[in-house]
């Protein structure tokens, strides 16, 4: 089966054009960051991107507009990724409903473990520290696929692919037949190939956000290099 490639972009004025470029480069799924002032799960690259986006006025309403514009340009699944504070303020149900109305396929909430707000449909994250029992819980309630956090840490490029991924994939496979996408710390085509060799797909965030600053063409080329690596 074709390995899936998910690309994370921060919502901003350039995002619709960037999203189109990412899909042209071979992205199968896009995660759209709704910036939060205090992103606990994020390293410096995405934290700074969030600060910039907020300074540009990318509040929830503007992010929902951005989502709708991206939806009008691409066909792939779109998944807003954010933090609980935004949902608490907007209303939990209203947030999910408004995102769906603008074309979101699902949601990812980085600081919302499976036990909190079980009624909110979302893609669940699991980590190397998750027990088998928690893997089962997360897999049982996740929306379509399971997000494997490859390492204990925050988002951001690393020199090497996390050695914890292989074991996590094995344990997750034992509890679910759903697609497993590996993210956090994947930035190079080599890492992408190695991670896709273990999981059903990969998520690339921080490096994509950095390259996106160079514009759509650069992003498209970068995504194509990841695509080629995981298809090889």
């Amino acid at each position: 089966m074709r390995k899936r490639l998910s690309i994370y972009l921060m919502c901003g004025p350039e995002t619709p054009a960037l999203a189109e470029a990412a899909v042209a480069g071979g992205a199968d799924l896009l995660e759209l960051g709704f910036p939060f002032s205090d992103p606990l799960a994020d390293g410096p690259v995405i934290r700074r991107a969030a600060e910039r986006a907020l300074a540009q006025g990318m509040r929830t309403a503007a992010c929902l507009d951005c989502l709708a514009q991206v939806r009008s340009r691409v066909e792939v699944p779109l998944v807003p990724m954010t933090y609980a504070s935004l949902l608490e303020a907007h209303g939990w149900d209203a947030f999910a409903r408004d995102a769906e109305a603008r074309g979101a396929t699902s949601l990812i909430v980085a600081d919302l473990p499976v036990d909190e707000r079980p009624e909110l449909r979302r893609v669940q994250l699991v980590a190397p520290t998750s027990t088998d029992e928690r893997l089962r819980l997360a897999a049982g309630s996740t929306d379509g696929w399971l997000y494997l956090v490859t390492l204990t840490g925050t988002t951001g490029p690393r020199a090497d692919l996390s050695p914890a991924l292989a074991g996590l994939v094995e344990r997750a496979r034992a509890v679910t037949g759903l697609p497993l996408l590996a993210g956090f710390g994947i930035s190079t085509p080599e890492q992408a190939r190695a991670a896709a060799g273990l999981a059903d797909g990969i998520v690339v965030g921080s490096r994509a956000v950095e390259i996106a600053e160079e514009g759509p063409d650069a992003l498209s080329r970068y995504v194509a290099s990841l695509r080629q690596a995981i298809d090889a």
């Binding site: 606990l40 504070s85 036990d115 204990t152």
Partner: protein
């Protein structure tokens, strides 16, 4: 395991990576509570190392027309109530086999307390501190260094306690297998608000007994400053079951999460926060680094909603005026944080009043001097 909810507040809003560590912490905490040896070790440390019990002092000149008592946490070793919590959590961390401690600090009092217990127990210690706070609480930065802790400046965002806390949590996410996060107030994901409250409850237990001994009755009002809320929840704990005792928390006017915040999610819990209508966290502003935080512990939110406790505000100027007044009338230099609590004493509908003097003012001298240059004391 318990839900960790206080009414609609509290919970565990953290990345999945931390959940097993929080489960482990909760189990370790329950085991410690059930183990007499844990209580005995803390009691021994309190009396032989920390300087407990701390006295109650009658402040006769500060508030004419009142009978005011001060619970002297400023006399605790390291100069603030923060040591009660740091000692308890350090012993807990050792029981859990963690050799590395991370902490956040605002005023530097929690950082100093943490650095102290880490030196005492031979634990590696990393303290995150906003660069703005490092500037205004210089002596505490130097103390932490001498105690062998590594102070890591946080240079982005507000450069104060909010960002320091986020960075400490990011460190914990990264090093969770070897590291205990020694949080400094009754905030954060469950079970931290419970743990910190229990470890600070010694303030209220002692104060209740001392009041009965000195006055033969309970105070009419108990007053404490509220940053995250740990000294307040600790002294309230001694009186919360006495319905005739008013419980009053005092926030900095520019950091009044309970007074003017809205429910939000910050640093792992649902609680009142200063935030905008989109849930973006707002900057707090206070002369006092220890109160300069846009969130507050979930138990205070529940006490507010139930009406059991009331929460007032005090401005920078009012706190400075109380700081000077306590020095001139009682010979006591309070920290700027409890100076906020002192500022509300005069207007209370109560005669016999107990205030938690949560810390001493040495750390604030430079800041106070720079703000009062030119104005008569």
């Amino acid at each position: 395991m318990s839900s960790g909810l206080y009414g609609a507040y509290g919970g565990r809003y953290v990345p999945e990576t931390l959940i097993p560590a929080l489960d482990e912490l909760e189990q370790g905490w329950q085991d410690a509570l059930a183990d007499e040896a844990y209580a005995a070790e803390l009691a021994h440390l309190a009396s032989t190392y920390a300087g407990r019990p701390t006295p109650l002092t009658a402040a006769e000149r500060f508030a004419p027309g009142k009978r005011l008592y001060l619970k002297r946490e400023d006399l605790l070793y390291t100069g603030a109530h923060k040591l009660n919590n740091a000692l308890g959590q350090a012993v807990l961390a050792r029981r859990l086999g963690k050799g590395r401690i991370v902490a956040e600090t605002g005023a530097g009092q929690h950082g100093v307390a943490t650095a102290t217990v880490c030196a005492r127990f031979g634990l590696e210690c990393v303290v995150y501190m906003g660069s703005e706070d490092m500037r205004r609480q210089r002596p505490n930065v130097e103390r932490m260094g001498l105690l062998g802790a590594e102070v890591r400046p946080v240079e982005f965002g507000t450069k104060t306690l909010k960002e320091a806390t986020s960075e400490a949590i990011r460190d914990w996410i990264t090093n969770v297998e070897t590291t205990h996060y020694l949080i400094g107030s009754c905030v954060g994901p469950h079970p931290y608000p419970q743990i910190v409250r229990e470890l600070q409850a010694v303030i209220g237990r002692e104060a209740r007994e001392q009041m009965l001994e000195l006055e033969g009755r309970l105070p009419e009002a108990v007053v404490a400053c509220v940053g995250g809320g740990s000294n307040a929840i600790g002294i309230f704990a001694g009186f919360v079951d006495d319905p005739d005792v008013q419980l009053i928390g005092v926030e900095a006017a520019g950091a009044a999460s309970l007074g003017s915040g809205r429910p939000g999610v910050l640093h792992g819990a649902r609680s009142p926060v200063l935030s905008d209508e989109d849930g973006q966290i707002a900057d707090a502003h206070s002369i006092s680094a220890g109160l300069d935080y846009p969130g507050v512990g979930p138990e205070h939110a529940a006490l507010r909603d139930s009406g059991r406790a009331r929460y007032l505000g005090a401005t920078d100027e009012e706190a400075l005026a109380s700081f000077r007044r306590l020095a001139r009338t009682e010979g006591l230099l309070p920290a700027l944080e409890p100076a906020h609590a002192l500022a509300r004493v005069e207007g209370l509908d109560a005669e016999l009043i107990l205030v938690c003097l949560s810390g001493r003012g040495d750390k604030d001298l430079a800041e106070v001097m720079s703000l009062t240059t030119g104005s008569p004391p």
